[in-house]
Amino acid sequence: MTTPKRVPVGERTFCVLLLIFSLVVLYQAFMISGFSSISSPGAFPLGISAVLLIASLRVLYELRGKPTDGDGWLTSFKRFKHTHFPRHIVVFTLLAVAYLVAIQWVSFYVSTFLFLMAAVVYLRRGKVLSALFASSALVLAIYLLFTLAFSVYLP
């Protein structure tokens, strides 16, 4: 087992959140049928939630003593954002959310074309013409494949 020298930024917070989540899950499992019977609907969920709680505790325990950067909250947050959410990932995720919302407003093909266009232009930093070509080709391929060949229900 390899022990990384430093705890990746945000991992400790994530593990604490995981621990809280396991407690909520345990409570939810208890709410199913309490300790009424050893083969009740809640018995196995209770068991597995307990294992989850123990494992999350263990994950947190494994992080002990490893150096973090000891920065303030804001600096850590910035570093976290930098490591896990560099700008292009945030922009892409936002584009994706906008796309999923837009499907219901404008039709599937229109929103797909716009999304592909926007995402490709952004990720390739310009190159509008090739993006236009790529997205048109992909939308055409999706039409041929899913509407004609697979006859899938599209949004």
Partner: protein, 505 residues
């Protein structure tokens, strides 16, 4: 007998199925070879597209993708030192050094032939072992299923890269997701938080598409600008003498692949690493030192990961337990098609089993054909820029999860799981164990309660049965060994015995 033969040859005789298998294998090679597209991703998305199809057609396509994809990963491992799929990690150890020496064509050719040898071994084992295990499985009691599932989850938790605790967290998370919704026995809501929408449960194909599609795509955005190294590929077909020279090793590593693949939950990635390790220890005079372009280091993982494909079907078709992440998704496909994977599948639908065997063999033949040609074209496809690929994956995931139920709710769930998966991945949690948890969790729940009910809710009696029934005893012992092997106690014992043997008495 004639029935068996006709099922076996179904895919070979029906031009439609033949074409789908060929198409699947061809597409699989490319999907596997493009870093960022995985077999699991492709199969998860395909399950939702093909559910209106005839089940044989869907399975033919999926088998092709599976066989092609596991092999395809080796190509990018050899050419650009980026394993296209987890099962080809070990291939890059010696494959890339070979390409750097200008022997990429030879390496690809050899890995193709070896994959086919491994794949055929796996298929043969599936054909021989599954019927025997299937008959045995009919005598398994619910407690045995519980034990096998627990063994599978422990194995996948402990063998997944990173820490055991993280593996177990992933498995438990999956199991809990799998149990959301109505309890199958009492119809009571579980983990629904009072929401009616959750009573129907979360469709696990949605979870799969989210974790393997969206999460993977988001993660791939980190290395958007991977440089493509062009290799001069020529002389692909390996000389017969070379194939014969490595045949003994390939049969040994196929055996490793078959054994590891047949364990519930553990698949080709681990088989390949173990086979590489075996080759390193057992081959005395490799063609070159390992890690510097030894052909042995290429043969071992490639045979093992392909052999694991066939044998991963063994627990799936006989017990309803996935042999690895891809077969977990295929279980989803069978359920979507109204089949019930489990011990009764072989009895109720024997055609599915023999059809799969015949189909796997066929896909291996296609693999040999496609693998040894079209290399030039291939080099172009790997250059498909990620900036186009990643948005496309998202669109495919959206279409896939929408088509399951024709509702946007599934799409939002899928995206939610994608973002969650991205976080989990970023902090070293694996996706495979989650999916196995989703499948095996509810199975364990049901078998646990059946086992308890059969002894009248008396835990002591259940313990007695665990000891008195030979099958249960073996399984409990295995589970106990795995659990002990993963606790600090084992390490302590090992150190103690090592010290005892090293100190002169």
């Amino acid at each position: 007998m004639t029935d068996t033969l006709s099922y076996l040859l179904m895919a070979w005789m029906d031009p439609n199925l033949l074409m789908l298998t060929a198409l699947g294998t061809f597409a699989g090679i490319y999907i596997g070879a493009i870093p960022g597209l995985s077999v699991t991703m492709a199969v998860s998305i395909l399950v939702s597209f093909t559910f209106s199809w005839d089940v044989n057609e869907a399975l033919a396509l999926i088998v092709g993708i599976f066989i092609g994809g596991v092999y395809g990963g080796s190509r990018s491992a050899i050419l650009i030192n980026i394993p296209g799929s987890p099962s080809s990690v070990a291939t890059s150890f010696d494959g890339y050094p070979l390409a750097k020496r200008g022997e990429a064509g030879q390496a690809i050719g050899l890995s193709t032939v070896m994959s086919v040898i491994g794949g055929l071994c796996g298929t043969l084992v599936l054909a021989c072992a599954a019927p025997v295990l299937g008959d045995l499985a009919l005598q398994f009691a619910p407690r045995d299923y519980f034990l096998i599932a627990a063994i599978g989850l422990m194995l996948v938790g402990s063998l997944a890269a990173g820490s055991l605790a993280k593996g177990i967290v992933a498995v438990c998370l999956g199991a809990i997701v799998g149990m959301v919704g109505m309890d199958p026995v009492t119809a009571q809501g579980r983990f629904t938080m009072g929401q009616m929408e959750l009573m129907g449960g979360i469709h696990y194909v949605v979870v799969m598409i989210g974790l393997f599609g969206v999460a993977e795509a988001l993660y791939q955005l980190h290395n958007l600008d991977t440089a493509v190294v062009k290799q001069n590929v020529s002389k692909v077909i390996p000389p017969l003498a070379m194939v014969l020279r490595f045949l003994p090793l390939s049969l040994r590593t196929s055996a490793i692949g078959v054994l590891v693949g047949a364990l519930p939950g553990v698949g080709g990635d681990i088989a390949a690493l173990m086979a590489y390790d075996h080759a390193k220890r057992s081959v005395k005079n490799p063609s070159r030192p390992f890690g510097e372009g030894a052909y042995e280091g290429l043969v071992a993982p490639e045979t093992a990961n392909s052999a694991a494909v066939g044998s991963a079907y063994v627990p799936m078709l006989t017990l309803g337990m996935p042999g690895d992440a891809v077969t977990a998704v295929i279980i989803g496909a069978l359920v979507v098609h109204g089949l019930n994977p489990g011990p009764m599948l072989m009895v109720e639908n024997p055609h599915i089993f023999w059809f799969t065997v015949g189909n796997l063999a066929l896909a291996n033949i296609f693999l040999l054909i496609f693998g040894l040609m079209g290399i030039k074209l291939f080099a172009k496809v790997v250059e498909l820029p990620k900036a186009v690929l990643i948005p496309l994956i998202l669109v495919l995931c959206t279409v896939g999860s929408y088509s399951l139920n024709s509702s946007m709710t599934e799409v939002y769930w899928m995206f939610g799981f994608g973002v969650l998966g991205y976080f989990l991945k970023a902090f070293g949690f694996q996706m495979g164990p989650i999916i196995l948890g989703v499948i095996l969790g509810p199975l364990m729940d049901t078998s646990y309660r059946q086992a308890m009910a059969s002894v009248g809710d008396n835990p002591q009696e259940l313990l007695m049965e665990l000891i008195s029934s030979p099958v249960s005893l073996v399984l409990s012992a295995a589970l106990l060994l795995i659990v002990l092997g993963n606790t600090p106690l084992y390490g302590w014992l090992k150190r103690k015995t090592a010290r005892a043997s090293s100190s002169p008495s």
